[in-house]
């Protein structure tokens, strides 16, 4: 009988993390931020049909980077979680914190127990229940189940650190929608590239959209907001 080679747990975890990070680094990044009327998510996405940013529930949005099929699976699980919870209890009982924890547990479980970690990073964003309050909450969840929460902004994806630094320079609280879109696009594109509306996926969570606060900003509307 052959003995399997001994691999130190540290090494095992590090290898898995490296594997996941490499997968994530291959994809494009996204930024989620609070602006003066709610939350804005701007993602670089060359596809117009395979979405990175989507609606989970009345006040909750989801965004993912990395391997599409994996974060889309997480997105659908999130929609199911939210709709079931709202159906069994009440719509106001559905919140992002509990959803983020569920995601974290699932990702953590997969990271340690399954063959292959998920090559994704996800963002769960929520605006306040009180319609007069425009502040938001962003939960950034990593491939290994680590959760970070932010109230200002979060950057996900391969070039996150570089984009984070660029974006921090332009970010302030209470940006207007055009300012926020501009700042995010400038940070995503960097000094050497220009992004076209077709390369972007933009959506907001705002109480001004009614009960379902999620709205995509696309087409001519997005064109008007592009940095000149």
């Amino acid at each position: 009988m052959s003995m399997p080679f001994y691999v130190a747990p540290e090494q095992l975890m590090e290898d898995r993390a490296d594997y996941a990070r490499k997968g994530i680094a291959r994809g494009r990044s996204l930024i989620g931020l609070s602006y003066d009327e709610g939350i804005l998510i701007v993602a670089e996405n060359a596809s117009n049909t395979l979405r990175k940013v989507s609606e989970i529930y009345d006040r909750i949005a989801f965004a993912g980077v990395g391997k599409y099929n994996e974060f889309d699976q997480l997105r659908i699980a999130g929609v199911r979680h939210a709709d079931l919870k709202g159906y069994s209890f009440s719509r106001e009982d559905v919140d992002a914190r509990s959803l983020a924890n569920q995601y974290a547990q699932m990702l953590g479980q997969i990271f340690t127990h399954e063959m292959k970690p998920m090559e994704v990073e996800i963002l769960v964003a929520e605006i306040s229940q009180d319609s007069g309050n425009t502040s938001g909450q962003l939960f950034h969840i990593l491939y290994d189940g680590t959760v970070k929460d932010h109230s200002d902004f979060a950057v996900l994806g391969g070039d996150a650190e570089v984009i984070f630094d660029r974006f921090q320079e332009n970010y302030s609280e209470n940006l207007t929608l055009p300012e926020a879109i501009n700042a995010a696009i400038t940070a995503l594109s960097g000094p050497d590239r220009t992004l076209e509306p077709d390369d972007l996926e933009v959506a907001e969570l705002s109480h001004s959209n009614g009960r379902r606060s999620f709205r995509r900003i696309e087409g001519d509307e997005l064109l008007n907001f592009m940095p000149s």
Partner: protein, 283 residues
């Protein structure tokens, strides 16, 4: 004998509270964008079998018509249990999503539950699939829900909705009527349901024209509900004491919108003035 506390038996109904986890399925068991199937899959499906129940609150008269900008739905607000009036402010007309609405008649409890599930089904589909169901798709979904309720309907818990919406693809308002077996019938001009529907239908028939404008459509619907309430004890008319009026909502290419209470109140007060003057010989 003393009562046992903390017995190992679970509390009745506790199993209807779902475990709110992240539901994951194998490809064979995956319910896709179907919320009802998801609910069944999670084991929180409804009601067991019961015996004949006839003293539950029942919904009463709802009418829908097509007009030049889309469709309109109207419903009274009375719910009755046997000969008792159990509610005077029960809503029977609801938005199903942005471009469609549903009006219900029948047993109030199952009807409201059906509306809730139907609204969720449409929204759930839209979120999972990233696009909304077609209007035909929505009508078909509703017809399946009614068919699933057939055994309950035989126990006296029938739910008979009208479904109306603006079909963005065909650029027209459409309406659908259903029977208790889930039969789905698209109507070209108007539909009515509930115990007062015979009277309401007659009024609509007399006054209906193709391409009515908005104010004429509201007036016709208000007249229909008024006459139904006048003849049918289970239908509520305008309640001037409590300031409660039937609901009228329109669905156009701009979406679902309820007509304001003030304008409905003024339409009904005009109807009342008219009937009063006729009763006193035109003076």
């Amino acid at each position: 004998m003393s009562k046992r506390v903390g017995s190992s038996r679970s509390i009745a109904g506790a199993d209807t509270i779902i475990r709110v986890t992240l539901p994951r399925f194998t490809p064979e068991q995956d319910p896709g964008p179907n919320f009802v199937a998801l609910v069944d899959n999670m084991g929180i499906s409804d009601a067991g079998q019961g015996s004949l129940i006839d003293d539950l609150p029942h919904g009463t008269t709802c009418v829908a018509i097509r007009y030049n900008a889309g469709v309109m739905l109207a419903g009274d607000k009375r719910a009755t249990s046997g000969h008792q009036i159990s509610h005077r402010t029960m809503e029977k007309v609801f938005p199903a999503d942005q471009f469609s609405g549903i009006a219900i008649a029948g047993a109030a409890g199952p009807a409201l539950e059906m509306v809730r599930l139907f609204q969720l089904q449409i929204e759930h589909y839209e979120k999972v699939e990233g696009k909304s169901l077609s209007l035909d798709g929505k009508a078909n979904q509703l017809s399946q829900m009614i068919r699933q309720n057939l055994s309950q309907a035989m126990l006296g818990l029938a739910v008979l909705p009208i479904f109306a919406g603006f079909d963005l693809r065909l650029d027209t308002g459409r309406l659908f009527q259903f029977d208790v077996t889930g039969g789905r019938y698209e109507e070209a001009s108007f539909a009515a349901t509930g115990s007062g529907s015979i009277h309401a239908t007659t009024v609509i028939k007399m006054g209906y024209e193709d391409q009515l404008d908005e104010s004429a459509a509201i007036e016709l619907l208000a007249n229909a509900i008024f006459e139904a309430a006048d003849e049918d004890s289970a239908t509520g008319g305008p309640d001037l004491i409590r300031d409660v009026y039937p609901i009228i909502a329109k669905i156009t290419s701009d979406g679902y919108e309820a007509i304001s209470d003030e304008s409905i109140a003024s339409v009904f007060s005009a109807i009342i003035d008219d009937r009063r003057s006729k009763a006193s010989g035109g003076e």
